[in-house]
């Protein structure tokens, strides 16, 4: 009788220890798949995939509700990276959601701007600075080039300008075959200097050669 109690208690303690150790050792915060998918998305928060941002889109992909070819800013490289991660076949970008464009940022023509603040409300990443009746400007390092500020502007003073890396912002492209467990970081531009006219072209010059994409 006593040996039965002791044996079962000992077994329970051992199993409890194993499970307790496993709970600490294999701790998972949130859904790791969502984090991995989110890290591959370009973080433009542009909503072109029909989801209200990159993370909701990542969650939809993880749940299997959304396809992997709905992200125009990420373009082909993002689709291939997602296909790799999820073990699916890459497919061309779904034209319903837009087409892949070279990396661009918004620039406000400060002489035309009337200070209506409509673009500030539209910006998903708070990259536009300004107040009512005051001139606005775009913080270039924050802008993700999502185009969402273009429609609300009543005087059409916002131009999408192609982003060209200069000496300070240029970096080596990522190698093509990354080790398997190394997830590509989203494209983040730390500092950009825009001098209108000299080394930038507006997005309306469609015949200009596309700028090489960042990573």
């Amino acid at each position: 009788m006593l040996s039965a109690i002791i044996a079962l208690a000992a077994l329970a303690v051992v199993f409890g220890l194993i499970l307790g150790f496993a709970a600490v050792r294999y701790k998972v915060e949130g859904d790791p798949l969502v984090d991995k998918i989110d890290a591959l998305l370009p973080q433009t928060q542009c909503g072109q995939c029909t989801y209200p941002g990159c993370r909701p889109y990542a969650e939809a992909i993880a749940k299997g509700e959304a396809d992997i070819n709905q992200c125009p800013p990420g373009g082909e490289s993002t689709i291939i990276a997602l296909a790799d991660l999820l073990g699916k076949d890459p497919k061309p970008l779904n034209p319903e959601h837009g087409e892949e464009k070279p990396k661009r940022i918004a620039v406000i023509d400060e002489e035309i701007c009337i200070g209506c603040t409509l673009c500030i409300q539209a910006c998903p990443v708070d990259a536009i600075l300004g107040a009512a009746k005051q001139m606005h400007t775009v913080i270039a390092s924050e802008c993700t080039g999502c185009d969402l500020c273009l429609p609300p502007c009543p005087v059409e003073c916002i131009d999408m300008v192609e982003f060209k890396p200069d000496l300070e912002t240029w970096k080596w492209p990522y190698p093509e075959n990354l080790p398997e467990n190394q997830v590509k970081k989203p494209r983040v531009i730390t500092s950009i200097k825009i001098t209108p006219g000299a080394n930038t072209k507006t997005a309306h010059d469609d015949d200009s050669p596309p700028v090489e994409k960042q990573a």
């Binding site: 040996s3 039965a4 329970a12 199993f15 701790k27």
Partner: protein, 191 residues
């Protein structure tokens, strides 16, 4: 070697756990509505059954038998199975999120799969040694997977078939299961 092949054939076909011994019927009916989920369940069960039959053999041989506590077998094995399932779930969740997504909800369901406990108890009853226990568990799992996937494929077709109204749903599924069971009884001449 021959002995292991015989165990495999016996558990997969002749003494199939679902259709001949009638163990593990709840997942057999419960998760066979779609082929995809059935495959996930089959994979998870194969893994857990093999592992738990090994673990329960070890516990029985080195803890219960020396202390003359064989009467505690059932409750001990339930404990072992629950721990194996829980550990597997944590491990898979961390190491392979994608596999976890496929197996996901099925892992905890296996804890209540009577086939898992049945295999552990039958291993003792038939006095298998360690390797035989593992093969017995693996064979039982393969048999379970085979039948589950076949049944799921059939149910997907039945779902779109023109079944008389009074037979729709679980009724036709149970009839199908019965027919499958009859077919598998036919293997009993294989001995």
């Amino acid at each position: 070697m021959k002995e292991y092949i015989l165990i495999l054939i016996s558990t997969v076909l002749v003494n199939n756990f679902v259709l001949v011994k009638f163990l593990g019927l709840c997942p057999f009916m419960g998760v066979s509505r779609k082929l995809e989920t059935a495959t996930g369940m089959a994979l998870a069960t194969t893994f857990v059954l093999t592992l738990s039959s090994a673990c329960s053999y070890i516990v029985n041989e080195f803890l219960l038998a020396p202390l003359d506590l064989e009467y505690l077998r059932t409750i001990t094995f339930i404990l072992v199975i629950a721990v194996v399932v829980q550990f597997t779930e944590m491990f898979v969740h961390k190491t392979s999120p994608l596999l976890y997504q496929v197996l996901g909800i099925f892992l905890p369901l296996i804890t209540t799969n009577c086939a898992v406990l049945g295999v552990a108890l039958l291993n003792i009853q038939e006095q298998h040694n360690f390797m035989q226990s593992i093969f017995y568990g693996f064979g039982a799992a393969v048999g379970f997977s085979l039948v589950l996937i076949l049944f799921a494929a059939m149910r997907e077709r039945i779902a779109v078939a023109d079944v008389p109204e009074s037979f729709r749903g679980p009724a036709i599924a149970l009839i199908t299961a019965g027919l499958m069971s009859l077919a598998f009884m036919g293997f009993s001449g294989l001995d």
